[in-house]
Symmetry: D2
Subunit: 428 residues, 4 copies
């Protein structure tokens, strides 16, 4: 099992100085033997007498000239740091303790939480030339944008084919981005408003397989020879699709299109390998929720400075569960804008549509994903609507709507939705 | 494990007679040491030379006067029967065989599949005085109706309280019925058209508990003290509900009502104990699917002569999953009509609404229920729409919509829905 | 959803009498509109001033002559009763309240918890002539026994065949019993010591099917034509079995026998239909745990007076999970003794073998059954070993052993086992 | 969804040459836009007329001088290559087809499957200085070894602490290795014989948390405050452990040690990010199966040349399921040898102990892991024991033993075990 426990407690000694208060909001970027950990802390500085909270522990200390000394009010951790042009940097020793018997020396670099950029919003047009296959914080930013900005860009399909039917990269849900959002800091939430999803070619790829996670024995035997790729024709005028060469009982079959983004996620914290782009989790990723279309807003945690937003795996249409493993996979022109909600914690990705809010839970089973979605929505109602546990029970009992986003990938995804008009009737 | 294997194969000897052909459709009612088994068979009778299929095995034989002799074309089973006024009755010996090493003697009574009654449809008004708590074939019919008939009746709430707030029976989802549908025979499907569901009082009962099947640890701890009953006021003019004595953040909260039947099912085959009315399965029962409202048709298998339809556990409103264990539980006036689809096999209950068809799967987990629903819908598309396995894969991939009916009971229930306008585009 | 909420609170008025104290342990047998509820209560009676707890609520009252009056210390319930030769009987009104808005009138009959019979233990030899197919409290007792007694009896196989290869009853896991255990009262635990399981014929029935709950698509397709019954020869001298007519790769195959009882359970409370004998749950039943052999003790809750113990569905051998649906199904001679643990609550059935204790959890999924087993074992360690929550975590982390009892039935069963030699090192 | 479909079919034209036959076993290393794909093929070469199978498709062609031309016998693929000193390299075009509408150009390098090294086995002593946190094929080999060789090395604990109690690396199940096994090629199976696991310090780290995946509501509430680290003392003479500072009911508690490797795995194919070392799957990894101790052999697929074997996350003792998330985590001296089984395909990791064979299934739920284990064992019995589907059903029904390896990680792990003495009785 992964085990990463750190008690950081900090101690100070001598007297203060005037020069340069460190009061305010800081991002502390710890290096833990090569792994990153970000912590966000509000520091008080009264004439050099400093205090705050680091990694969940209260500390007190002093700032004297460029020297900072601090210690935990409990636990015995001690640290020192030096002011730099941009902040301060130093190290601390966390002694052995009940949580971890081995002392731990961490180095860190602290920078102030940057202010939200104040320039007027811009609209960027970005033509990607490189695509990525992991939600990694180590991939170089493709474009710097600011909260409020709009981006017009494009995605290739799950196999790497673009709108000109040209293979641009290997398959595996390659993503456009990452977009670095100025002033986004760990602990913020990134809101991505999906303004427009425009089909840019006449075909989508799919198949006739049904995921074994959605079937019992009879259907397994019935579909044992299903393994054909199916190309769907996308009629962009009438916004319908049909299987190319449709014949038999499907000779007149067609379905209305509903363009959506299967993949949207923020970079995860460096340390363990980043998840591949065909995986999903609490930073989003390959969510395959068919309500993530134009008009939707997706809320994702910011794990690293700049958030590093990725998008891809667009679907011209997808039934619940993405039963074929593939949906109608195609390339797309995408227009979105971003915003930041500072210092807010969310349990799982959230989606807002014109009519609904939705908390999306992920797990290796549909049962588990449903549980995660319920926990997340309860947390949402508690934090943003101040509901008590009893009130949450009453509201969920009458208002919960579950949607099955994905059953064909490693994580199943389930959304718990609530109508916004009902929530308007909640007293804050 | 339950084990009930019978190979019935039948053999005949002597010569035929003219008197009374047994050609036609028959229901053979086997008594297997006190358990019932019904079999439906089409018998050929050419001047007393008879043949047909019984319990999946082909037989041939003779009818001489009132005497019938038959034997299986394979397997060695032998039987004899005597013509009676209404059909014939007899017994047969199934020899030991690969499927069961013990010879088995069954007695049976065979009656012709009755014709659909030809009288014009009637509308019955039925005031129940007794309520039942199992979907048993042994409960006496409350009312005989014919296909095409309409029934106006009422249900008490899950605790046995009626529209006058009078306790009429013990709790546990007591049901109105059973309704005996003339000419309904095992192997048919009963279609129940729900014409009207009318609230008949101003309150519904619920609570603030959340089912542990929908939560992880955090929500379990958050709601550990939730255990209050909550009475909801039903405003029948505005068709909205609110918790009585609503206060706090719910002081202005209200939700639109959507009356539905939580329980609708046909009697199961006698033998093992019938399921209690708070259980669900492939004969329906406590399905708790919130789209079973006015305008919906529910298709259920007929397991015993007369089908024996039960209804109850009406909800003024229910969120997906019936998270509180209880929904807004109330009594209701119910108007429905019935119809029969002869000799049709369905895997799980089906529901049809104005816009959708839905196959409902049941299992002890949501994952399992979703699998059962997919298998059932695939079977539906194969049988009623003639789709091939590949076509089924293609249609489900773009058109499947899953709904979570129930997670709080022993069986979870999941519905796989498809829009009817899409199905109209399938060539037969 | 099933809803059965009763707040019983009781009130008294006038003055006491000397004649006949009601102090002591009582079983109160409530009739709730035809459903039973048993409650066990310890009553204080100080010169006619009485008090106790009923259905979880404290009451006070008076006994005057043969008249008892009582009322709840909270909630407003009121009751009256009359002393009879064997106890007292009466009724009470539970007013509407937060838990249930409808007043409820219950009648009841109270009898003293009987003393454990004092006669020396007997050994009964019981030849069953009737077999049952539900764990019902309404089936007439087959034999009255006392705690400490030993019973020698026999079971038929899952299809109703006995040791002479004679079909004695219909299939479906018919059970021997029920055995009425004198002085067993609701709230007790019944301990069943399985002393001997003796094969009494040379064959067992099984098949080659694998349960779909244990397979993914590949195995579903591989075994799609598996549907043969397989008769196993039981070599009772060498205690091994092989498939009759074994050939091919199995031509020399044989496996050691390990006789066990698939079914062992106590009757459930009357009201809803009793579970069929192919079902399992917290009163045991069709547990199919292959460690329930000679030398094991099974602990089951007593739900009704006399406990009403059933046994059946013996297996000459069963792999984990009972993958074929059937194990090596055979008849058996069974010798067992019973004992009672008064007034003890257990969450799920418990099994004790020479080396292990095991808590068995049941659920519609293996995941859920594993959760139930863990909850039950934690409860066991807390109640019988006084462990704290932290100690329970530490012990389970090093000592938990999970066994999969059953995956082929409606309920999966998982056992959490702990070695008894480890438990000996726990300080009480 | 990930989508990587390639149909390689190859075509040849002109006449052969004598010089240098390419007959024999080859590994073809494809580069697919930066992703690797390995294919193993047996080529016939009769005087320059060549044929074989590539990526599942038959090809024919010619070898003329150093020039190779080939084409698929179906599908229209065409390729060319040039002989080099070590093999040949070239490219091919796969035309659009039913499986993928986009032509694809792959480059490749082909080398002969190397012979198994013929030198006598060596014993290596390897002291690791670097540890890895992903099962990546891109990490540089730490040591080259040959089939038959023995390695003596050591592992740090899950938090990176070694036998001297020195932190050597960051936590997260860091692994020793990777070991490059000479001549191991994709398509082989690597057998790792665990010869000795020796504790090298007196403490192990664990905690008192119970994984929420193993609990229902009651246990969640009971253990809501469990969050303490627990250090266990390892008594290496008596081979028992107890919690340090044990007190309360655990004051005399101790448990026998059973050293095991939680982590053992081969590198995965480059392309998507490699799995982190706290994850598990069909190439092994963090399997946490407590029977992987001294005397066990673990069989793992070889995905890349050299196999690249990793080991780590040793446990002094672990209960089933690793309920605390951590087991008794400690460093260890490890001695193992390796062997190769050429050209063999296994569905999931296999483990062999002195008495058992075990197939290990992984999935996001215990139900799913059990299904995967059953599929894998059925495949094993079919391939290595030649059993028919019916025979597999019969053997599993009597011989299956399931063990729950892991429930606390992203993947649950379940082992299906069969006694080897039973398998000895199967006729080949």
């Amino acid at each position: 099992m992964l085990k990463l426990i750190c008690v950081v407690t900090l101690a100070c000694s001598i007297a203060p100085a005037q020069e340069k208060s460190i009061a305010g909001d800081w991002i502390v970027d710890f290096d833990y033997l090569g792994s990153k950990m970000y912590d966000r802390t509000l520091i008080q500085d009264t004439n050099g007498s400093i205090s705050g909270t680091l990694l969940g522990q209260r500390f007190v200390g002093t700032r004297t000239g460029t020297k900072i000394l601090f210690r935990g009010t409990t636990g015995g951790a001690e640290g020192e740091a030096t002011l730099t042009r941009d902040g301060f940097r130093g190290s601390e020793i966390i002694p052995s303790g009940p949580q971890d018997p081995h002392p731990l020396r961490l180095t860190f670099v602290a920078t102030r939480v940057p202010p939200r950029p104040s320039r007027p919003p811009l609209t960027h047009t970005f033509k990607p030339s490189v695509f990525y296959r992991s939600f990694s914080a180590l991939n170089p930013p493709a474009l710097n944008i600011a909260p409020g900005d709009t981006v017009r860009t494009e995605t290739v399909d799950n196999a790497g084919i673009d709108g000109e039917n040209i293979r641009r990269t290997a398959g595996g849900d390659p993503q456009t981005g990452p977009f670095y959002v100025d002033s986004a800091m760990p602990g913020d939430v990134l809101a991505v408003h999906i303004l427009r999803l425009t089909l840019n070619r006449d075909t989508a790829q799919s198949d006739d397989v049904i995921s074994y996670t959605a079937m019992n024995r009879d259907l397994a035997v019935m579909t044992k020879d299903n393994k054909s790729a199916v190309t769907w024709h996308l009629d962009r005028n009438r916004m319908v699709a049909w299987p190319e060469g449709r014949s038999g009982h499907l000779s007149a079959f067609e379905v209305p299109l509903h363009p959506m983004l299967g993949g949207i996620g923020t970079a995860t914290i460096p340390g363990p390998p980043a998840p591949p782009t065909f995986d999903s989790g609490n930073s989003g990723g390959n969510m395959d929720f068919n309500e993530v279309g134009a008009g939707a807003t997706v809320y994702l945690p910011v794990n690293v400075p700049g958030a590093l937003l990725y998008l891809g795996d667009a679907h011209a249409l997808q039934g619940d569960g993405e039963l074929n493993g593939a949906a109608l996979e195609t390339s797309m022109d995408v227009e979105f804008s971003v915003d930041l909600i500072p210092n807010k914690n969310i349990k799982t990705p959230r989606v807002e549509t014109p009519d609904y809010i939705a908390a999306i839970g992920f797990d290796g089973s549909v049962d588990g994903a449903l549980k995660a979605a319920t926990d997340s929505m309860a947390d949402w109602l508690a934090k943003d609507y101040d509901l008590t546990a009893s009130e949450i029970g009453q509201v969920l009992g009458v208002a919960a709507e579950y949607r099955v986003a994905e059953v064909a990938d490693r994580n199943a995804g389930v959304a718990l939705k609530i109508r916004k008009d009902l929530l308007l009737k909640l007293k804050k």
